[in-house]
């Protein structure tokens, strides 16, 4: 590996190190100097978790070859404050609760620091603009902007520094604005996520992934890869000693493809080597012979007779069908004055947590196989892994590292098994850090769904019957599909009291990327259809959208269509509050144009303007605010 000698100043100290020509400044800081407060969220300039100052300018260190920074003065999040202290900005982030998972936070603090260095009087729009290159998936940004404004005012003296102190819990945690205990470790970059952790003798894993959607694996030849210097082990499905299979409900997914690959990006083999580059090079030496099978990418097609069957146990490709029946829908439709039928579609969505998957596994001196990872479900993972590696449960340990955002996407044991196997086979600690591309291609998405909604209503707006059919693309493996289908069925008709319902939700296997848990767990798809449908029906009946909901809403004591008795229902209160807060102009929603009184006027709620272009200049320093 070609090298170069780096001489830089990092956080005020002179550093001389040999680097490789391949290193980006990000790698140099993280791997050579162990300054892991600078994170890699994307590696492509898109997220800002890697922001550092180079000669006083804020840059994305993933886009800068280390060599380019040679001779420069570098400042990272670790250098902002003295050990044990926090800068005004860091204190403000702590105060406003601006750090949640925390993975974006070091970069945010750097960008905010840059913003206030450039203009200590930066207005809201300028702050927004200057933080525009940094993405956060947790906070919705409001608390972050609030923190920057608070710090600015405290630094300028227009607010006392006590404004940065938290009010504390007082007598009770309830009703008091309590600061997060873990915020200081996040705003300083001190917190170690799995990808930041190192152990002596640690190996680096890279994963060979399927380039085809559906194929038989005729053979895998790992001999050449195994023989490479620096490679400690190569693992495939053959290395699984126990009963292979994981999943949140059905255990249909092998640790690595076994006999067949079922989606592009599925793990086929993995290499553990002394460095990432060697592991990556070894992947190129693994020879896999595939025989393509006819694949299926549409769940409706997968459900039809004659479709390719993905899993032998499920001949109709159904992961789960949840039927619910209440009353008699035919009678309900007969009774209706109006019957409206529409189709709704939702797409796959990636969680895009800022922390790509990462994990570290080792076998401890007592033979306990230990996996450290940001798993959202360690207990279940532990039980599954024990079976897979054929060990008693007390020989398997899962440690949950800080989760840099999960949103459901880290419920699946998608890589922890490979780490465990490699640690067992090599006898050394093994770490795997996904690239963003790998995370997107191989991990679960929100279920894309197609929903057919048929609703019968009386002229007064009362719903007489609902027929709801949802076909969701579960992708190649079951993961959380069963639960998602259950929840979608339970919440299919929304919070409305309907006498006659016929509900069917189907989770279906296809050769697409697997779908899994994602915030709302099936409710979003169902609610999108239900609420859109209600608006359409209200329009057709000339009713106010709030009104049609009030007419049909469940009230305290209602029995849901799954026979759950609701002691208290606050929907009416929520509707009243929403109506009031939006200054809603009553009447059917679709009959007024731009003249309506609840749009864009003083006192109305502003639409969300994040990402919109800034308009106003904010005075003397405002020359950077153009347009």
């Amino acid at each position: 590996m070609p090298t170069l000698d780096m001489e830089v100043t990092v956080n005020g100290r002179d550093v001389k190190r040999r680097a490789t020509t391949q290193m980006r400044l990000l790698d140099f800081l993280r791997n050579e100097l162990n300054l892991t407060g600078t994170k890699e969220g994307c590696g492509a300039g898109e997220c800002g978790t890697c922001s550092v100052f180079v000669d006083g300018k804020l840059v994305k260190s993933c886009l800068m070859p280390a060599a380019k920074a040679n001779g420069a003065e570098i400042e990272t999040v670790e250098g902002l404050a003295k050990r044990g202290e926090l800068t005004y900005l860091q204190r403000a982030f702590h105060k406003t609760g601006a750090s949640q998972c925390g993975y974006c936070i070091p970069g945010m603090v750097m960008a905010a620091t840059g913003a206030l260095r450039e203009n200590p009087h930066a207005g809201f729009d300028e702050i927004k603009e200057r933080l525009g290159g940094n993405i956060c998936r947790c906070t919705g940004y409001s608390k972050i902007f609030e923190a920057v404004e608070l710090a600015r005012d405290a630094m300028n003296g227009s607010l006392p520094t006590t404004a940065l102190e938290g009010p504390g819990a007082g007598d009770s945690f309830i009703g008091n604005n309590v600061r997060r205990l873990d915020a200081p470790s996040k705003v300083t970059g001190a917190l170690k996520y799995a990808g930041d952790m190192v152990m002596p003798g640690m190996l680096h894993m890279q994963v060979l992934r399927s380039p085809v959607a559906y194929a038989l694996i005729k053979s895998i030849d790992i001999s050449e890869a195994e023989a490479m210097p620096g490679v400690e082990c190569v693992i495939t499905a053959d290395d699984v000693p126990g009963e292979d299979g994981f999943g949140v409900f059905v255990h249909d997914q092998p640790i690595m493809a076994r006999g067949r690959v079922r989606y592009v990006g599925e793990a086929v083999a993995a290499v553990a080597a002394e460095d990432v580059e060697t592991a990556m090079a070894a992947l190129g030496k693994i020879k896999v012979e595939y025989e393509n099978l006819p694949a299926v990418f549409d769940p409706e097609v997968a459900m039809a007779p004659g479709a390719p069957v993905l899993h032998d146990y499920a001949p109709g490709n159904i992961v789960k069908h949840i039927p619910i029946r209440k009353g008699d829908v035919e009678e309900g439709f007969a009774e209706a004055d109006l019957v409206v039928e529409e189709d709704y579609g939702t797409q796959a969505v990636e969680h895009a947590y800022l922390e790509p998957e990462a994990g570290l596994a080792y076998v401890d001196p007592d033979g306990v196989v230990t996996v450290v990872s940001p798993s959202q479900n360690i207990t279940h993972h532990r039980h599954m892994l024990a079976k897979i590696i054929d060990q008693p449960i007390n020989k398997v340990r899962f440690i949950m590292s800080p989760v840099g955002g999960g949103f459901g996407g880290k419920e699946d044991m998608i890589y922890q098994g490979m780490l465990a196997l490699a640690a067992m086979k090599s006898g050394q600690p093994v770490r795997l850090v996904f690239t963003r591309e790998e995370s997107i291609v191989s991990t679960a998405k929100r279920h894309p769904a197609r929903i057919t909604y048929k609703m019968g209503l009386k002229n007064d707006g009362r719903i007489t019957a609902v027929e709801f059919r949802m076909v969701a693309d579960g992708g190649a493996y079951g993961l959380s599909t069963e639960g998602v289908m259950r929840k979608a069925a339970i919440l299919s008709c929304g919070p409305y009291d309907i006498a006659n319902v016929k509900i069917d939700t189907y989770g279906v296997y296809t050769n697409n990327t697997p779908s899994g848990a994602f915030r709302t767990f099936g409710a979003m798809q169902a609610q999108f259809a239900t609420e859109s449908h209600l608006d359409i029906c209200a329009g057709k009946l000339g009713l106010d959208p709030f009104e049609i909901r009030r007419i049909n809403m469940m009230r305290s004591g209602a029995l849901t269509h799954t026979k759950q008795k609701l002691g208290s229902v606050s929907l009416g209160l929520a509707l009243d509050a929403a109506e009031k807060a939006s200054n809603w102009e009553s009447g059917p929603a679709d009959v007024r144009g731009s003249s309506r009184s609840d749009l864009g006027k003083a006192g109305n709620r502003e639409p969300c303007t994040l990402g919109s272009r800034i308009r106003a200049s904010d005075g003397a320093g405002g020359k950077k605010d153009v347009a």
Partner: protein, 307 residues
């Protein structure tokens, strides 16, 4: 990931040209690196190992800019952030702050060069339409028999297709020279999915200058990006506006001449629809920047109804 056998950081143009002339096949020049590094990733070029990378960001002669004889000569290392923060550049290139504020983000703008944007020649490059509109020329240098030989090419001839330019082996872009547009009103419009960090679906640039009494168009510059393999200058629309009264009708008539410009591979219909409204808005915003309001929105609706 991007790797190389040698990473060179020349400090003079001559040094850079000599290294570039002697570099083995497959070597690359690197300025800000904001195109090259993301290119060397999975799904695009993947893992790339180059013989030599010549980082030209420390070459003295490529820094800074000069203004002379109504032209602004931008050294190849001028980065997008300078168009926002440098008052003299703002004065001479009034469309560029608008272009830059839409370009990537604060941090990338500190690294990304206009020259790199032009050489990269993406159909969606935001820097190219303004350079076309400002009669930009690209200055190129190479070593011949030990001395530096230069040539200049119109920016419109420089780019020949997506990712393709007329640059030849051993050549380095040393500067981009544009008309000084001091006194013009400038605007840049962009459609993308969010404000920061977004590649243009369509972008448009407009520069306007009016007659002394503000009644007629004295000069209009218009070009569009993202709709065809190479951004286009709207010569016909520009010509149709010159000498015309400043009115919504003149603008709409000019917009019509933009007709079927859209030649992109994807979302053609959508882009087509966007383009017409877009050019109109670009002209309107450039006029606003000039200090003249086109006509109030009610009149705009009426004018639209008449077309």
């Amino acid at each position: 990931m991007l790797n190389c056998d040698q990473y060179l950081m020349p400090e003079t143009l001559e040094e850079a040209l000599a290294q570039w002339a002697g570099a083995p096949e497959g070597s690359r020049l690197l300025a800000g690196g904001t195109d090259i590094l993301p290119w060397a990733r999975e799904g695009r070029a993947g893992h790339v190992h180059l013989p030599v990378i010549i980082d030209i960001s420390r070459v003295k002669e490529l820094r800074g800019y000069d203004v002379a004889d109504g032209r602004v000569r931008l050294g190849a290392n001028v980065v997008f952030q300078q168009f926002l923060t440098d008052d003299e550049l703002r004065h001479h290139l009034p469309c560029m702050p608008h272009c830059s504020i839409w370009f990537a983000d604060d941090q990338i703008r500190e690294q990304a060069t206009l020259a790199g944007n032009i050489v990269n020649a993406s159909p969606a490059a935001d820097g190219v339409p303004p350079v076309f509109a400002m009669n930009g020329t690209v200055e190129i240098a190479r070593l011949e028999g030990g001395s530096i030989v230069r040539r200049s090419v119109s920016s419109r001839d420089f780019i020949t297709g997506p990712g393709r330019t007329i640059l030849e082996a051993g050549e380095i872009v040393t500067a981009v020279t544009c008309d000084s547009m001091a006194g013009y009103g400038g605007a840049f419009e962009k459609v993308g999915q969010r404000r920061s960090l977004v590649i243009s679906v369509v972008c448009a640039v407009c520069l306007v200058k009016l007659s002394a009494d503000d009644k007629t168009f004295a000069d209009v510059r218009l070009s569009l990006g993202g709709i065809s393999p190479v951004p286009v200058r709207l010569d016909a629309a520009e010509a149709s506006l010159k000498g015309q009264p400043v009115s919504r009708e003149s603008v709409l008539a000019a917009v019509k001449t933009a007709g079927d410009l859209v030649r992109s591979r994807t979302r053609r219909e959508y882009r087509g629809e966007v383009v017409r409204g877009f050019i109109e808005r670009a002209i309107e915003d450039a006029l606003a920047d000039y200090g003249v309001a086109l006509s109030p929105p009610e009149m705009k609706e009426a004018a639209l109804a008449n077309t």
